[in-house]
Structures are given as C-alpha cells and as structure tokens.
C-alpha cells in the first residue's frame, strides 16, 4: 500500500497530518473502507499467482509485446526491464479496460493490434520471419527505421505511428510502476508538515534567488 518502503504508511501520514484525532472526520472504519475501496480497484488487476493470461493479446502478440517493451525500456544499472516491471500487463489491461469509452478503446485496440501485425509483416518482408523469431540485428534494423520520427522514410509512416503510440504505452506502464517511480526519484505523495519551497541547491543550479 501507499508509502511502503518509505517507513510511513497512509494511516501514519493521516495521523501526523492531524486528521486521525478527529474521530468524526476519519474513523478507523472510514480508513478501512478507504482501503477496501482501493482493494476493489486492485481486484480487477491481473492475478498475481499462476501464469498471466492476457485479456486482450493473443499468445503470439503477447510474446511480441514483451520483446518490444524490453527493447524500448531495457534493464540498466538503475532499474529492471519493462517486462520485469509489469509493463505488458498494464498495456493489456488498458486495451481491455471495461470502463473505457468504447469507441476510444476500440480505436486503441486496432492501432496496437494492427501495429503489431505491421511489425511482423515488415520483418517477414525484409528477413522472411516475424519480429520475435528474428535475430537481435534484424529487430534493430526495423526499430531503427521507425523509432526516430525525423528519419522515417516514405512507406514506413504507419509503422512509425504505431511505434510512437506503443512507446508511450510502455513509458506509462514503466514509470508508474513501483520500480519506475523509485528510478525517477519522485519524492512526493507524502505528508509534509511545512512547505519550504524550492531547495537551496536547486535555486543555485537555476541561478535563482527567491524574493
């Protein structure tokens, strides 16, 4: 739950903020109810046990999504690869989200499904086999052709458009994950007793003095 790993949980934050002593405002029952509310949201999350069953992607698409997501955000010294951070699962959920506006959902589904098919066709046309079945060098050749908007040659625009969309989905999934947020060094979502403004160190980096 919130604040794990930071040594302070939601209840503690509320207590420090002065809310908890006001029983009428925030009773333990109320807090529990808030937790249940979140738990209900989580209940729609992919189950943690057993192999993940995608709600939207086929088995072949799922393999492609894993490979592509990791090509976009691979592991490095600061954090693991996209597939290790649960990014493909987030993308699968978003594409199948029962609460999404139906037309919007269908548009995104078609864009991603069509894009994955485009990628396989492009690889097959160049090398005689699909994206996941090829070599690293083959994948790199195709990604280099669609990942840099300014360098995309005529005829590959649809692939580039798909890649831009998919890269955004991967970024959303990764940087909102626990490891992604830690990697970014986001320091908020916490109880702050006194707001002290822009830290001195940053002020001097920016050449600013607060008036």
């Amino acid at each position: 739950m919130s604040g794990e790993g930071k040594g302070i949980d939601r209840r503690e934050m509320l207590r420090r903020s002065g809310a908890l002593p006001l029983a009428g405002l925030l009773s333990p029952e109320a807090l529990r109810s808030a937790h249940l509310h979140l738990a209900r949201q989580q209940a729609t999350a992919p189950a943690g046990k057993g192999p993940f069953q995608p709600a939207f992607f086929t088995a072949h698409e799922w393999a492609t999504v894993q490979r592509l997501a990791d090509a976009i955000l691979p592991a490095d010294a600061r954090s693991p690869a996209a597939s290790q951070a649960g990014v493909p699962e987030v993308i699968d959920f978003v594409l199948a989200d029962p609460l999404a506006e139906p037309k919007e959902r269908e548009t995104l589904q078609t864009q991603v499904r069509g894009g994955l098919a485009w990628l396989d066709r492009e690889c097959a046309g160049r090398f005689g086999r699909g994206f996941v079945d090829g070599t690293e060098a083959e994948r790199t050749a195709v990604l280099d052709a669609i990942a840099f908007p300014a360098r995309v040659v005529a005829g590959l625009e649809a692939g580039a458009a798909f890649f831009a969309t998919f890269r955004d989905l991967v970024a959303s999934g990764f940087w909102t994950s626990r490891v992604g947020i830690e990697d970014l060094q986001y320091r908020g979502n916490t109880y702050v007793a006194e707001w002290t403004g822009c830290p001195k160190e940053v002020l001097s980096r920016l050449g600013l003095e607060e008036r």
Binding site: S17, A19, L26, T44, W175, T176, I181, A193, W195, P199
Partner: protein, 563 residues
C-alpha cells in the same frame, strides 16, 4: 384504520448540493429554516472515499481516466462529460461540452480551488467599454460577503493592492516551486506580473480542519478537509443545526407552482427506484448549475408560466458563457537533470499571472489570467507521452535515460479569458430528446465571437514569448485562425454562467438583484446562472459569496414575514 399524515411542507427546498446549494443550506439552516437539500448523485465523503495517498501502481489502470472519471481514475468527482442515460444535444454547426458533477458536493469535488474575487470592473463592464451588460450590483455590494467567505472557508494569497484583483482576508501563501520561480524570472524581464495564487486551501489550521499537508492531491478529495468542498466545509455546520435534511439520489424534474403561479415545491425522480416524488416547500432555491437550473425552469411549464417558470423575458438559457481557454506546454532545458526534490505542494499552482494589460492598446476587450503548471509531479498514465517531439524519439538505454532527464522539465501555461455573452451562444430544450427519466434534455448552441478569438491569439503569442525568454521550446507550431488559435471548445473550461441572469428589468433578465425570479417571488437561484458577465476569474468564489448574500436576504425576508 387509516392514519392520515399531512404532507410535510419545508420552509426551503434547495436543488443541488454544490457551492451555491451548500452555502444556501448552511445560511438558511443556521437561520432556523427547515431545509431540504436535493442532490441527483450519491453521497460521497472525502474522509472515507478519497483515493488520497494511493500510488498509481495501486491500480492496473495507473491513474488513467475513463468514461466516468475523465480527469483520471483517482479524481474525486463523479459524473463527467458523458453520463450514461443523461444525454444532451448540440445544434448543427456548434460544438459544446457539458461537464456535470453527480454526487454530494457537485462540482466542488472537481474544481481547482482557484478562488478569485470578481473586481469592480467586472460588474460594470458595459459602462467601461460598451460590451455585454452591467450587473445590477457592484463590487461594494458583494465585498462584505467575500470578506466573510474568506474567513469562513479559508484561502491563501497576498494583498497586492490591484484595483480589479481585490485584496482579501488571506492566509500566507506557500512558497513557489522551482519552475514557478523560473517562470517568474522570465516574466519579470517581460513586464508580466507573477504573484502568489489565491486558492481555498488551508495553509494554517482552521477550526477542526488541519492545515494542508502538501500532497498535491486536492482533486482526489481531501481526506483531512484541508481544502474547500461543500461536504467538507459547509454541510457539517449546516447538519449540526438539526434543521437540514439531505436527500441524495434525487433528480429534479420540475419546480411545481400553485394556481397563483408561486413555486409550491419540487418534483423529482428517486433514481434508486425510478419513482416520481414531490416535496412541498414555501421557498425554492435552484443551485443545480447554470445549465441544469435553466433546464429545470424550461421544463417547469404551467398555465401561468407557459414558456417555463420565470421565463416571461425569454432570457432563460440565453447569455450562456464559458471562459476562453488556451494551453501552451513547453520544454525548458534549464529544468533538466535537477537534483530530486518533492515538488508536490498544494493541489494547484503556487503563483499565477493576473491580468496586467490595458485594453486601449489591444484589439480585444476584457482580459485573462494565466494558470501555471509543471514540475516533478506524481507520474500517472500518460507520463511524458509524446516525448519524441522533443528528444527525437528512439528506444533502449538512451531513451530510458532521456525519460529521467526530461522528467520535471516541462511547464504549462493555461490562459483563462473573459467571454462576452453573444446571441449565438445559448441552451434550450431539445424538442425530441429525453433522458432516462423522461426529462427533456438541453440542446446547446455555441459560437466564439471575434473578441474571444483575438484574445486566444494574444494568449498564444504571450505564452510563447515567455517560453522563449526561459530558453524553452514548444513542439507545436502556433495555431492560426483555421483552428481558432487553439481556443477551447465551449463548455470545456467548465465555467458556464449567465443562463438565468440578474438584471433591473424583467423584460431582459430572469432574476432581480437578489437573485429572486422577477416572475415568481418565492423562487431564487444560487449557482452561476445569475452572473451577468463571465470575467476571466474562476467563478466559484463569486457563486459562494452571491449565494451567501441571497440566502441571508431570504432569511431576512422570512423573518419579516415577506416570504
């Protein structure tokens, strides 16, 4: 044996539990009236129901919005642009978006807590420049209510001595964030003022409400009641009187009238059962939002009020306005690679740009203010989407590092400008479409006039000059006249006003200077419908001040036996 229970007659029935309805309920219940408050949506309590402090990874949706939560799944406001079973229509050639809150507290669960008083010029625009109409009241009429409102609710800001951005009773403002200081520095060189914003968020404790803890999540609903929403601030004291009854799940269908044409109560649909109910009341106060109030009046036809209630003037639904909105987002290299720090702050900007120019040097009337955004906020679904427009795209380790470096380096400028009422912008009943309860729905007509388009162009140029002065870049080229200079769609800024406007003359206005219907003396309006103009300032503070004045007037008239 049959027991005959005489139907209860309430002193006051209020429709809508947002800013205006909540204030009217508080004032009237405290004055001793037996008050029934009807709300179409369900109950909601930020202390119990808020997603405050949830992390994006607590949900597989990662904070992404959906049909019922257009501002993100953690957002506190229920309702939206597209409510199943509650359509509205838009006339051919028009575009209009209508956001509705459906919950206790209405859109006070949505807003940005930007609490700007209207100033002396705002009430007398026509006298100053000939556009639109003057209000029947002036700033001095409302000033005492603004002053008391500041103290009752709590607001931070600074007294700047600006004539049309009146001083108030302010708590100390929070210190600016880093990017806000950088914007301030660039603006200083351009002669553009950047001053502390004025938000109804507590920076000091007030009564039982603790001060803000700076998690920046006001929009999710504040579990500690440190910001303003009706259920957090106005309903608790109102309920404590024992005089207020709140009925949620009550969708008002029409205001009923007696044979004399006076309001006799409200009929509503119990949304849980679909059953029609009727409550009797000596006084009816509509606070359903500008457009819902107009809809309710137009749907309240009777032999004495054949055009709809209080509509002898045919002004109901007319003079519809919304703020001009223009947004420019930019990347500022100076903000890259900064040391990590918590930039959450309050749930909104710490500084803003008030209107600063003289219209005699401009090609449009009236003004705008600028709301500032940016910073190292909580990452949500949508995080750095479109980064390729700035970093050239790519993939792999270099891309991963780019996300880290670009995080926190974007700023946003949202202009909010005055819209002068025009004859092409109004709402009326759609002759053929009804909602799921069988209630005829609104049809919107909308057109920005040349004045607003020129203002939008001015915003574009100004914001881009500021970005340039910061050494930043804007990915999108400046939009031209073919796209209205990037102007928002009508309704998109969610500042609809004017549909039941006040005025001296019953021929051209719906309400008198006490927000009392010219044609029906026990009917009042306490939302944004009565506004004669739509200054660039977000309207909630004025809805609250005006509702306080209206409700105190009702209480006084009741005391005198006049109502």
């Amino acid at each position: 044996m049959q027991v005959l229970v005489p139907p209860r007659t309430w002193d006051v029935c209020i429709v809508g539990s947002g800013a205006g309805g909540g204030m009217a309920a508080k004032v009237l219940a405290e004055a001793g009236a037996e008050v029934l408050l009807l709300e179409a949506g369900p109950p909601w309590d930020s202390a119990r129901d808020s997603a405050m402090f949830a992390w994006p990874y607590d949900s597989p949706r990662r904070g992404r919005g959906h049909r019922g939560k257009p501002f993100g799944e953690f957002d506190g406001c229920l309702g939206g642009w597209d409510i199943p079973g509650e359509p509205y229509t838009v006339a051919p050639g028009s575009q209009f978006n209508w956001f509705r809150g459906r919950m206790l507290g209405g859109r006070t669960n949505h807003w940005g807590r930007i609490s700007l008083r209207f100033g002396p010029w705002d009430f007398k625009g026509k006298s100053r420049d000939g556009f639109g109409d003057d209000w029947p009241i002036g700033y001095q009429d409302l000033k005492p209510y603004y002053d008391r409102l500041d103290e009752m609710v709590g607001i931070f800001g600074t007294n700047e001595g600006l004539e049309n951005e009146p001083d108030g009773v302010f708590l100390p403002p929070p210190r600016p964030r880093c990017y806000e200081l950088l914007i301030q520095k660039a603006c200083r060189g351009l002669g553009i003022p950047v001053i502390p914003s004025r938000l109804s968020i507590l920076t000091r404790p007030k009564g039982e409400r603790p001060a803000c803890h700076y998690c920046s999540q006001c929009g999710r609903g504040c579990a500690t009641h440190s910001n303003f929403s009706t259920p957090s601030v106005l309903l608790p004291p109102a309920l404590a009187t024992g005089k207020l009854t709140v009925q949620t799940g009550a969708m008002a269908r029409e205001v009923t009238t007696d044979t004399e044409g006076r309001a006799s109560g409200v009929s509503y649909v119990d949304t849980a059962t679909g059953q029609d109910r009727h409550v009797q009341a000596r006084i009816v106060v509509l606070a359903a939002s500008a457009c819902e109030t107009a809809r309710l009046l137009l749907n309240s036809r009777s032999p004495r009020h054949p055009n709809g209630l209080a509509n002898a003037s045919r002004a109901v639904g007319r003079y519809l306005t919304d703020s001009v909105g223009v947004h420019v987002g930019a990347h500022v290299p100076a903000l890259m690679d900064l040391p990590p720090h918590n930039e959450d702050g309050v749930g909104g900007m710490h500084v803003y740009i008030p209107w600063w120019l003289d219209n005699r040097t401009l090609d449009f009337p009236r003004g705008y203010h600028v709301e500032l955004g940016g910073g190292r906020g909580m990452p949500y679904f949508g995080f750095l989407h479109g980064l390729d427009r700035y970093n050239g795209g790519g993939y792999g380790r270099k891309l991963k590092d780019d996300y880290r470096r670009y995080y926190g380096s974007f700023v946003g400028f949202s202009g909010r400008g005055e819209c002068v009422p025009n004859p092409d912008s109004f709402c009326e009943l759609d002759p053929t479409v009804v909602d799921r309860w069988g209630i005829p729905v609104l049809r919107f007509h909308w057109k920005w006039s040349d004045a607003e388009l020129k203002q939008a162009r001015h915003m574009q140029r100004t914001f881009r000059r500021i970005v340039e002065a910061m050494g930043g870049t804007v990915a999108e080229p400046e939009p031209g006249p073919e796209t209205g200079y990037g102007i928002s769609t009508g309704g998109e800024i969610i500042h609809e006003f004017g549909t039941v406007r006040m005025g001296e003359s019953p021929r051209t206005s719906v309400l008198n200077s006490w927000c009392q219907a010219h044609d029906c003396r026990n009917l009042f309006v306490a939302d944004g419908g009565p506004f004669v103009s739509n200054p660039h300032k977000n309207g909630t503070w004025t809805i609250l001040a005006l509702a306080m004045r209206t409700a105190e007037h009702i209480a006084e008239e009741r005391r005198k036996g006049n109502l």
